[in-house]
Subunit: 422 residues, 2 copies
Amino acid sequence: MTSSAPQTSPVLDTARRAREAAAVLAPLPRTARDAALLAIADALVERTEAIVAANAQDIAKARQAGTAESIVDRLTLTPERIAAIAADVRQVVALPDPVGEVVRGSTLPNGLDLRQVRVPLGVIGIIYEARPNVTVDAAALCLKSGNAVLLRGSSSAYASNSALVDVLRDAVQSAGLPADAVQLVPGESRDSVRELMRARGLVDVLIPRGGASLIRTVVEESTVPVIETGTGNCHVYVDEAADLDMAIEILINSKAQRPSVCNAAETVLVHAGIAEKFLPRALEALTEAGVVVHGDAAWQQAGPGLVAPATDEDWATEYLSYDIAAAVVPDLEAAVTHIRRWSSGHTEAIVTTSQAAARRFTQLVDSTTVAVNASTRFTDGGQFGFGAEIGISTQKLHARGPMGLPELTSTKYIVTGDGHTR
Amino acid sequence: MTSSAPQTSPVLDTARRAREAAAVLAPLPRTARDAALLAIADALVERTEAIVAANAQDIAKARQAGTAESIVDRLTLTPERIAAIAADVRQVVALPDPVGEVVRGSTLPNGLDLRQVRVPLGVIGIIYEARPNVTVDAAALCLKSGNAVLLRGSSSAYASNSALVDVLRDAVQSAGLPADAVQLVPGESRDSVRELMRARGLVDVLIPRGGASLIRTVVEESTVPVIETGTGNCHVYVDEAADLDMAIEILINSKAQRPSVCNAAETVLVHAGIAEKFLPRALEALTEAGVVVHGDAAWQQAGPGLVAPATDEDWATEYLSYDIAAAVVPDLEAAVTHIRRWSSGHTEAIVTTSQAAARRFTQLVDSTTVAVNASTRFTDGGQFGFGAEIGISTQKLHARGPMGLPELTSTKYIVTGDGHTR
């Protein structure tokens, strides 16, 4: 492809090498890519000591900087965790190969054979925060789908990521593939991210994984196409016709089973027709689960002293904590209107025994996933049976919802004739 | 969805109204959308006089500005052309409905039912140049696929587009759909394009259709996701094992059947092993077709005085005229390397009798379409049997190659359980 970025810099040079590697990877058969992944899994285990030593530098730096222990824990690699990461890579090997799948095919009226075939995207850039396991996960999924990957992790994990990428590159090379199929983006400063975002023509897609501000920055500044991931302001709507036991279970599971993740619920909306029965039970269950309710007037009235008053900020917030916004709505349509206004379009659930309500809700709600009588927590590549997940896209182009291997591919048309002309 | 653009302006207000209309359109059944399209077709014919009168203003303005007659012709609407546009709308009615298609579905091991269903994208912005027929084509395809559309045509066709959009809106409303499903972006200045490009959260995708500079501007400046269309620096590679009669036919058809379109060939690459036989015949045929050859040393030697010397600029140029760049390459791999360097990734053809060469070329060339023993001119939604085409995507995300109705949709997951929790 003609590149409109003739400049040179360490980041652009990295991207150019990735492009060359991608051209080598694309026509390789599955066996070659799988062999590289198996070599990676072996090498991670074999070189555990070096990885843990590099990780210790990051940990020391983090502690020195007064980083919270919960974040230090996310940063930490132990031999057990490295073994688990290697096991995950072996699972990726076992997944079906998306490359080469014929998506569509027919013989045209003039006798031309038309086939639309899945091909790798080319060069995928992943920009991510703290956890160094993402380095290996992302590289494995990109390699499996025939792509070269540019990894730009958090500067707080730079030593760990460097050590991991060294291991990955050596393993890829030992399997006969170009080492440049896996590269760490050089530089720990923000400038290297900025350069990556302007490398249109060299990088085919950027996938930011991390907090909302990282994602917003990439979306706003990148000229490379971006797949937006992960912001989840998810809703549970308890319909007038809900089974209240089920509603409590789904609400508590959606909110409190793991509040720090994007598919956790952040708001509960309750039909006015069952509010009187449901609110006291919900307040009891939420309080017992350690959840603070930020409610509208109806919720405040149902739990005097228990419920903090909700403002527009609460409707907009992805708490990622033991907090939930709560409102009573006059009907299903009002719930949909609230969701349309405030949701990030990730996952919304309805609890209802009414087939008509379920159908109406799934038709009207425009989010990556609409759950009927199921927890919001199911929106996940693993849960959906994709075997792996590079992130959850909350945009509508290319991929929406949990992204597995097919979402890391594009297609091309192959047209075969016998001298056909128009 | 939460919008990060709280400002107000005529363009943003238009986008907000489109968003409201999209929410109404999305759950409508096919019959409702088809009825609106039929009303549009009828209204275009009925109100031909008003459309032609508005078009006359644009024509007068264009002539006054000394516009070339070929462009004035593209701008001109006659009763016959309007009838043809209406007939095209009726054809869109007959196409299969992409909305609601179940793309993927299964019952998960825990008993949850998972379905991935096609849904409209929402609000589609089309930025396009001169030809006012695009106004109707684009609106029809967007409505058919359940989307609201924001049309931003050339200021040189503003009167025509305004008249057409008036007709479309009235027809849409008469069929019971919101008129704001079809809107012209207000303002004739570049500022309105700029505002549209920053309306992230209100507009789901922008599709620029037109010249390379328009497309580049949108790609560089838009924070709304963009589908890049239409730049075609297409190649014909004549392999050592080519049938030379077939090669001549395919070359001439690819270059000269309609040189002004994106799927016309711009460069011919010839294997050194058949250059001596092929070049004189090709030069004769190209010259006879009125094509000027810009060749490398081998071509210049084959046609002394006939061949202009080619520079890097020729390899990079999408002539869109009776010109072609020409080179001799040592082998298929060198042809692929040339294509990888200079192609816009639209369409490349190989002419060969060798199955191995055909297979190698289709594996190595990474373009939207790779043609084997067929003209580059087949890369087209109509030719591919899609029934309609909103453009030809030359990017890898979301859509690649000719875009039909399914490419104007996204998907959502519907998860149905009986109180499932994790």
